[in-house]
Symmetry: C2
Subunit: 336 residues, 2 copies
């Protein structure tokens, strides 16, 4: 999508390096960071320099390609990369996709095949996100006011985004839309990244404190909620950024449709219910500090779960590249 | 309550000045600010240097006493002070209490009567908050995990607090308790003030992102929710800090009792329902900036409602200085 009028992907491979848009420095500084080895890639994922389920899936895929190109053991790179963050399913999918391409190959060709596999995975991810936009945009009527949580835009993917893709598609189809952007504490991906994406695409929006979403729902100022997902279980429960569960419960209470947009790589049929999804607990300093500013008193403790699980009963529909379906239809639509 | 082991009130009158704990500088700096005239008082309320419904009620009362002492027209002071913030009922109660004391008095005695009336109002507020603690502490069992939103502690009152008063009472009765503190964006009163109060009283707690409260409720890690109120309507609907409505809906969804703690001065029987309570919209820069740190991109817009309304159906009970009662019992308990 657009950055100052130029088209970018959030992550790509160039010569012997992975290049990623540095998501820690946004929105105040737009900078491309080069990842030169497995350690760089692992750190970029852990520190959320690159984040978002599909984006870390593609970064993981490129990470295996990079290790292979450098003549390293891809199994070691796999081990390192899959231990960076536990919740998103796409990370394991991306890594496994490239690992599979290496099976039964001669040593001399491995690097080329790995890069081709990683590029294929990235391109398919872009295509899936574009399709999510096409399907999802049908849900967005003219003059719609849409609430979204966190950043499930193109930065979180490679291009287009998941939750934001239907919004971009609706905008290109000429519909008038307004987006309420949850700022999404503690990491503020809504305030920092979603707002920046929407500004670059010229889409009217307002950032709100996470506390205000319920108020606007109750005042009938929100028509539809669309969020992304880090992992969707077989029964339709899903994990997404902390706070998603709150918005889902509030949407149901206020009779507002609540959609989850995600590529099918987010669906983990081996996970029977949401209770089986591991929830990452991140450093409590993400709560204590905002930038350089400490907001809590010295000596205070904090808890910082990075994700929550929303039960399927709160989900109106799941938007994938294939179609839009009800959570209870997952097993039917996606056979293992 | 305690600050580094010494007892303080949040606001008091000393010689010709109102003294208040500066709530903007907390938790990193403990400083007493002197308010020397009506303009000082109005600015302190507007900028939230002093905040919390009962505390601004008492500050308003002292503001009339200060103006009277300085030989100013108390009616002009009243006009200025009641136009500082629109939502809290206590502000109007505090001002009117002192104005009433001035009726039919000789000119020479007005300042003494006004100060006595303001001190009476402050002392009654302290007494009411202490009683709220006594009644409310009966709801807190041993090993309870309590969620609170914003700061409805002694800083928001004069002493004891409203939502925190039952917690302080339970602690002094020797019960083991743990408090989950919503950080409460955008002004972060939970992270900055509630956490600071609890540390000073030695009460174990964790600050959480507002987004995480639902997660902990769903995981059965919260046993009871207690919040304050800025205004309670006749039908039991109430206005409180933005985000309160979200927590109330989530508590109901998860079968967790949800209590509102407030002195009876918060109840406005002239307000039939919550829809009649005016909701303050504050500067959007409170969302854009955290301290010196801008979190949104330049050019982004924000919306910043300071309060929301929670319908009575989500309220398990209202804890006042008189007793604990159901929201539908207000009209019976409080006759005009």
């Amino acid at each position: 999508m657009l950055v100052n009028g130029n088209h970018y992907r959030s992550v790509w491979f160039e010569k012997d390096k992975i290049k990623v848009i540095n998501q820690i420095l946004l929105p105040h500084k737009f900078e491309i960071t080069e990842l030169k080895n497995t350690e760089d890639v692992a750190n970029a994922i852990k520190t959320m320099l690159v984040r978002g389920a599909p984006a870390i899936g593609v970064t993981g895929a490129y990470g295996i390609a990079l290790a292979t190109k450098k003549g390293e053991d891809p199994n070691e790179a796999k081990e390192t990369l899959q231990n960076t963050r536990p919740t998103a399913n796409d990370l394991f999918r991306g890594i496994d996709h490239v690992m599979d391409s290496l099976k039964n190959l001669e040593l001399s060709h491995k690097d080329l095949y790995a890069l081709k596999a990683a590029n294929d995975y990235a391109n398919r991810s872009v295509e899936a996100c574009k399709k999510i936009g096409e399907h999802g945009s049908k849900l967005i009527k003219d003059d719609s006011r849409i609430l979204t949580h966190c950043n499930a835009g193109w930065l979180a993917c490679v291009d287009w985004g998941t939750a934001l893709s239907p919004i971009y598609a609706a905008k290109r189809q000429g519909r008038r839309i307004f987006v309420y952007v949850d700022e999404t504490r503690p990491r503020l991906q809504g305030a920092k990244l979603t707002s920046w994406e929407l500004l670059n695409e010229g889409i009217p929006h307002a950032v709100i404190a996470d506390n205000a979403a319920g108020h606007f729902m109750r005042k009938k100022e929100i028509d539809i909620v669309i969020v992304g997902a880090d992992r969707i279980a077989k029964n339709g429960d899903f994990a997404n950024k902390i706070g998603t569960y709150e918005k889902a419960v509030l949407a149901k209470e206020n009779g507002i449709p609540f959609y989850v947009a995600a590529p099918s790589s987010t669906i983990d049929l081996s996970c029977e219910t949401g209770e089986k999804i591991p929830i990452e607990e991140r450093d409590e300093n993400e709560v204590h500090f905002i930038g350089r500013e400490r907001i809590t008193p010295e000596g205070a403790k904090a808890k910082n779960p990075a994700f929550d699980v929303t039960p399927a009963k709160f989900v109106t529909g799941i938007i994938t590249e294939k179609e839009i379906f009800k959570p209870e239809e997952i097993a039917k639509v996606f056979k293992r």
